[in-house]
Symmetry: C2
Subunit: 595 residues, 2 copies
């Protein structure tokens, strides 16, 4: 940890003490427990069960006490005491007594820390240390604030009583505090669960089940556009799109070897007659069965078998998060059957080309929004990785060479490969700045053995194939959640559920407005005509609230001149003929412009 | 039964006796059992376990005996005998003894029938009667033939021994026999399972499971075109297409009331944590949950919620038939939430408009290829039907009135309604001439109660909605199977997996041929360029075998004149510029022409 970081952590820890001291002013009955520094600030867990418990409204008052006391905290001293002394001091606080007992059992020293000794603000707490030496001088009073109150189990164990946790934010400067709050505000406003609700894109039902989103008509429009975009783009690039069943016999996953490895992620079997059926957790064995249903020539390879495949993977209910972590998802999946290593590596390269193209359509930049990770195997772990050292060596070297020769950023990660071979992970940064593996391109020399995937080579011999597993866009659910946050609901025109709203200023303009609506619809623009009795102002506010890319207002001038006045989401306004507006829209949709 | 039909049945029954008599000539060890008349002919079940069993190759020989003996069968006489007499006659035949026992138990008379009495061809059998009086005169020797040999359990019970069944075809005239055989031949050639294999459209895998088709790239193209066609057409007609989960908690189907009613068609539950999840057998409750996720105004109704919904219904493995009877299928489903009866009936009418439009796109004619059936409830059966006599009366009357006022053919069927209301079934005739319910439009006053489906009316009051359940195209699997048979693999251009093949006459023409291929592909035509070393003749035969709508042959003339010579599947040939060919194709695709 750098000196700067350590100083900041000491400040935050000091502020936890200050919070405790300030709480005792109005809540002398409170039992203090523990108060550490955390990311972005500090908290203190306090038991208020003997009297009043503060609420969010009381935070200002407590914060005021903190600021007042801070000026008197010019020192932070400590002394070592015996267990008996400590127990006497905290005799009315069962939480501290439990802590003293623990420290004693471990044979560690018991220390008491006192801030502001000799002042009205003097405060002593049981503590291991790590504070600012002179809080009054070191801590800026405008660089911290209390944030929120939450419940917490004592020591995080749900068998223990629930006590109260008060959170504070703290930085070195006021500017840093404000910047953090602003960034958090923006991330919250862009949270896909919040926006999904506000814009009416998807919902959940307790009766249907957790982690199983129901897409509204609006959200379904986005999903359908995404699905058609990726299927059409893949077909253009020579993919053969197929449909295979979402359930299959357990035998299939035993054959692929997924079953023992993957059991915990799979749902329980469904008994049908004498057989067991599984919800599929992946597509590979389905595509391999399809490939193997007839013999193939080297001329057919590489064969790029693609599918929008519904998959089912078990997630604990606590892990489920909007569209990002679900129990059933639709993966833009593909398996490319290749004749040899060179072909497979070339196909990995083409898959990365596709990924970079798709990312560019969403406005994502290599290096900034995503980068690659070369995930390697571990020759010493033959439980986790298919045993074939030579194939691993060769595959890893070829993938590394491929990435080095591309204009791309990548890191390497040991022991992150798939069980059947090394892979290139697409690492994406979400709206909260966290990095995650969005999807992968995998190089597989194991499954072709298990499924006996072969082809007839030019010499007439039957040979073993290689497989590249890949996605291009990941799971539709996940990319939707990601894009909702990325665009903050301001979708590009081609993805917008409603593309244009038509608003008439008064009754006299309704006839022409209806004509505009019909003509835009006729050329395939998703158009709404708001003919409710609401005022024009309210209609415009509605269009803005729903983040419509465009709305047109039809008044006297537009009727007289047979034009439309186009208002865009970003505040631009322009009068044009209906034809040129329609053509402008169609071009923007066709180009998939991001504005 | 008409006199004619009865005569034909007597002839067929007589021929079963004749078959038995002829079998005994070469197989005197055979134990005869039972031999009835059936649709299209007759059969006789015979136990050959005491010696040789005839195979298909022996049918000709047996048939020859039949024809020879027929001339001597100028009479068919019967006499009643006692059980003891009968048992003595059939003392070596355990099957006949079992029959005699049964007849005796029922207190019926035991009769023996003798044909050709006093001739070399005399033959006596235990029988209840129903024969031609003078077979030699009445039965045309060229109007029947033996058809095939199959195994059959004695009395159809799989616990009994397997015996041999010999089938024969029989009609009044040679012409009728030939017409039947020709029609059967054509139906077999068009069987979607056979064509699906020949054209490489779909396959099954024992490891994946029975009744779960895997679509090849070619079959997937047809499916994707069908799916996009119906989704786009529905959206044009104001449907709101959605995506809802394919699994849901058991609670949902208990809430809908489907669970006890529908249990036998559903797969066993999947335990997830403490909950039970089901593969969904229908979409309705999913759409109702989506509708109920927020309040709705009367202005939003009728709300047409559509989905390409994957459904799972249990079928016994013996019932599974290609794409027609499967265990998982994708239904073009919709639920239209309506404000009142009038709106619901109007929506049923619009659903029928859509169905008739879609049928016309496939070249299906009302009255010839399909008709409607008004399926009614039964006021006395409150177990099978939701109890609400008034709503049934009103719904049935409104549907009847609607159908009477349309230009359509319909019949009525008592006791065929859904449990929640009356419905209009779309009855379709398949390639074998059999009629089946393809899909339905249902009028539902029950589910809205169970799911508390409401809307806020113009008077501000919350009111109960009505629902129309409907499909437009049925299950994608089923319509695909149907269309494969309907078109005999000669799909209209828009559905053809490959639309055009480009064939160069010689190496000198390859450069221009490749250009033609690239340009057709660039405008979105599914084009193949056959640059294999095969002869031109073989390439053309391949294109024809795969039933490609068009292929173009590129030779000296085409290269010199920058044209293409277009050969169509139906034998037409025409030279034209590449541009005009491409435009011709795009127009034919856009119009969804059937040629």
């Amino acid at each position: 940890m750098s000196e700067d970081n350590k100083n900041l952590e000491f400040k935050r820890h000091t502020l936890a003490h200050l919070l405790a001291a300030a709480v005792l002013v109005d809540y002398p009955h409170a039992n203090l427990t523990l108060g550490p520094a955390i990311d972005n600030g500090f908290y203190y867990d306090i038991d208020f069960s003997a009297g009043d418990t503060p609420g969010d409204d009381d935070l200002k008052k407590i914060q005021k006490h903190m600021k007042k006391m801070l000026g008197q905290w010019t020192s932070f001293e400590h002394e070592e005491v015996s267990a008996d002394q400590a127990k006497e001091i905290f005799k009315d606080n069962p939480f501290k007594l439990e802590l003293i007992e623990e420290i004693t059992e471990k044979g560690e020293a018991i220390t008491l820390y006192t801030a502001g000794a000799g002042t009205k603000a003097e405060f002593t707490d049981l503590c291991r240390g790590g504070h600012s030496d002179n809080p009054a001088e070191e801590i800026a009073a405008d660089a911290f604030k209390l944030d929120k109150i939450a419940g917490a189990y004592w020591r995080g164990d749900e068998k223990n009583p629930m006590i109260t946790r008060i959170y504070g934010l703290a930085f070195d400067t006021k500017e840093e505090l404000e910047a953090y709050e602003k960034q958090r505000e923006e991330a919250r406003a862009r949270d896909h669960r919040k926006l999904g609700k506000e814009l009416g894109l998807f919902t959940f039902s307790d009766t249907v089940g957790k982690g199983l989103p129901l897409y509204t008509p609006k959200g379904s429009t986005i999903r359908r556009e995404l699905e058609r975009f990726i299927v059409d783009e893949e077909i253009k690039r020579g993919y053969l799109h197929v449909y295979t069943p979402d359930i299959a016999k357990l035998d299939l996953y035993e054959k692929s070897g997924h079953y023992p490895h993957y059991k915990d992620s799979m749902y329980a079997p469904i008994d049908v007659d004498d057989e067991k059926f599984m919800l599929r957790p992946m597509t590979c064995p389905h595509h391999f069965e399809l490939y193997s249903s007839e013999p193939h020539s080297y001329k057919e390879l590489p064969m790029r078998i693609g599918e929008l495949a519904k998959l089912y993977r078990y997630e604990q209910s606590g892990e489920l998060t909007g569209l990002i972590r679900v129990r059933s998802f639709c993966l833009a999946d593909a398996h490319i059957i290749c004749a040899n290593e060179e072909q497979a590596i070339s196909e990995v390269g083409e898959a990365l080309d596709l990924i970079e193209y798709v990312a560019s359509v969403f406005g994502l930049e290599m290096g900034k929004d995503y980068h690659y990770r070369l995930s390697l195997g571990d020759r010493n772990d033959s439980e986790k990785y298919y045993k074939n050292d030579e194939a691993w060596d060769k595959g890893e070297a070829l993938l590394r060479e491929l990435l080095q020769n591309r204009d791309c950023e990548f890191v390497e990660a040991e022991g992150e490969g798939a069980f059947y071979g090394p892979k290139v992970d697409v690492q994406m940064v979400n709206v909260n700045g966290k990095e995650d593996t969005a999807f992968t391109v995998q190089y597989d020399f194991c499954m072709p053995d298990r499924f006996d995937l072969t082809y007839i080579d030019s010499d007439g011999q039957e040979k073993r194939a290689l497989v590249v597993h890949r996605s291009s866009i990941g799971a539709i659910e996940r990319i939707m959640g990601f894009l909702i946050e990325r665009f903050g609901g301001n979708f590009p025109l081609w993805l917008s559920p409603t593309q244009v709203a038509v608003i008439a200023v008064a009754d006299a303009h309704k006839e022409y407005a209806a004509k505009v609506y019909e003509e835009l619809k006729a050329v395939g623009i998703r158009t709404e005509y708001d003919d409710s009795k609401d005022s024009m102002g309210k209609k415009i506010r509605n269009a803005k609230k729903n983040k419509l890319p465009y709305f047109v207002v039809i008044g006297d001038k537009e009727v007289a001149e047979k034009t439309v006045t186009v208002e865009s989401r970003d505040g631009e306004s322009k009068e044009m003929t209906l034809n040129s507006f329609a053509n402008h829209l169609l071009t923007e949709i066709d180009n998939k412009d991001i504005k």
